[in-house]
């Protein structure tokens, strides 16, 4: 039979052994020569940047050298400014409308020979004038019955206006 206290003791001992493991690992000695290797690695590492030293022969100790350097700087700045001013004239603007150059037809292709294309929508379909419509045909034979042909009405199809054949005349005695 197990008691609560027994479990606690067992837990504590297990936990203690686990912490002993962690402590053992945390106290492992560093390998021999670690510091020397790290130092060597640091010496071999590339340095981020260096300040270039001014040549000793051109040291700015003498005053005339300082004056010459200042004059050279002023000359360069003024010359650069004058150069910019001389090259860029104010008020220069475009004098004409730019026309795109004529592009020749590619070799082997067809050119339009200078013809201008007109859109088809300008000359649309025209409706026939009512006055120019053809009058209805007269009866060719006198005495025959009038045909029931009706004049053409706009908007009707030709099938509706089909002529009815005349009745057969009685034979003469």
């Amino acid at each position: 039979m197990k008691y609560q206290g027994q479990d606690d003791l067992s837990n504590d001992s297990q936990l203690g052994s686990a912490e002993a493991t962690l402590r053992l690992i945390a106290s492992l000695p560093a390998p021999a020569g670690l510091e020397e290797r790290v130092q060597a690695g640091l010496r071999a590492a590339p340095r981020s940047g260096r300040v270039l030293a001014w040549p000793a022969a051109l040291s700015l100790d003498s005053n005339w050298m300082r004056a010459a350097a200042a004059a050279a700087i002023v000359f360069v700045v003024a010359g650069g400014g004058w150069g910019v001013y001389a090259h860029v004239q104010p008020g220069q603007s475009a004098r004409g409308v730019a026309v795109p150059p004529h592009v020749a037809a590619p070799a082997g292709g067809f050119s339009n020979s200078g013809a201008m294309r007109t859109p088809n929508t300008l000359n649309g379909p025209l409706a026939p004038h009512p006055a120019t419509a053809r009058p209805p045909a007269k009866a060719s034979v006198k005495g025959t019955a009038r045909t029931t042909q009706t004049p053409l009405r706009p908007g009707k199809s030709g099938v509706a206006n089909k002529a009815v054949p005349p009745p057969v005349a009685p034979a003469a005695k």
Binding site: A18, T21, A30, E35
Partner: protein, 197 residues
């Protein structure tokens, strides 16, 4: 000295920084060398407790000091250099651990059997101890990340709870509560593992 000379000398005045820069650089390098001598072992142990591989731990230490070399100008602003260095190497090893694949437990057993002190122990005892330690480490790996980190850092006797809080960037009370949770979880894991056997 005429007025123009005074003006020119004022314009062209070059501060005596080249010499001071060089001297400062030399001082920083000396300080860095002293830091390597003083803390390389501590950083190695911190790195090894996470990576569990001697060469990886040494690489992490090297990388930490290279980072210090890059920021050597700000060495004077660091208050506690030991905690600062541990924090650097801790971030490096966590990053490496995250990137690397999970190591199998058998690797841990082999590595521990090779690394652990074995004076006066038979080969069988060494193997048994290594297996036990590897089992404990496997249980530690199963803990949540926050609790695991606190538990691992608490094993370092030279680190107080305040310093652990500084390394992890949390408060001291958080360290204590996480440590309490970690111990409880660890006990549960060890019990569970024992009941399975």
């Amino acid at each position: 000295m005429s007025a123009s000379q005074a003006v020119f000398s004022g314009w062209m005045e070059i501060p005596n920084s080249a010499m001071s820069d060089q001297a400062r650089q030399c001082a920083a390098e000396e300080e860095l060398a002293a830091l390597v001598g003083q803390y390389a072992g501590t950083l190695y142990r911190v790195a090894f407790s996470v990576l569990r591989n001697p060469s990886d731990a040494e690489d992490a230490v090297q990388e930490a000091f290279l980072r210090v070399l890059r920021h050597r100008d700000s060495l004077g602003e660091v208050r506690d250099q030991r905690v600062w260095l541990i924090r650097i190497v801790w971030n490096i090893v966590l990053d490496r651990k995250r990137r690397s694949k999970t190591r199998p437990e058998t690797d841990d057993v082999t590595e521990l059997a090779r690394v652990l002190p074995a004076q006066g122990l038979s080969a069988e005892q060494i193997a048994s101890a290594a297996q036990h330690h590897a089992h404990v480490l496997a249980c530690v790996d199963r803990l949540p990340a926050k609790e695991r980190q606190v538990l691992m850092l608490s094993a370092f006797e030279e680190l107080s709870s305040v310093e652990i809080a500084s390394v992890l960037g949390i408060t001291e009370s958080s360290v204590r509560s996480r440590l309490f949770r970690a111990r409880n979880l660890m006990a549960g894991l060890l019990n569970h593992a024992r009941s399975l056997r």
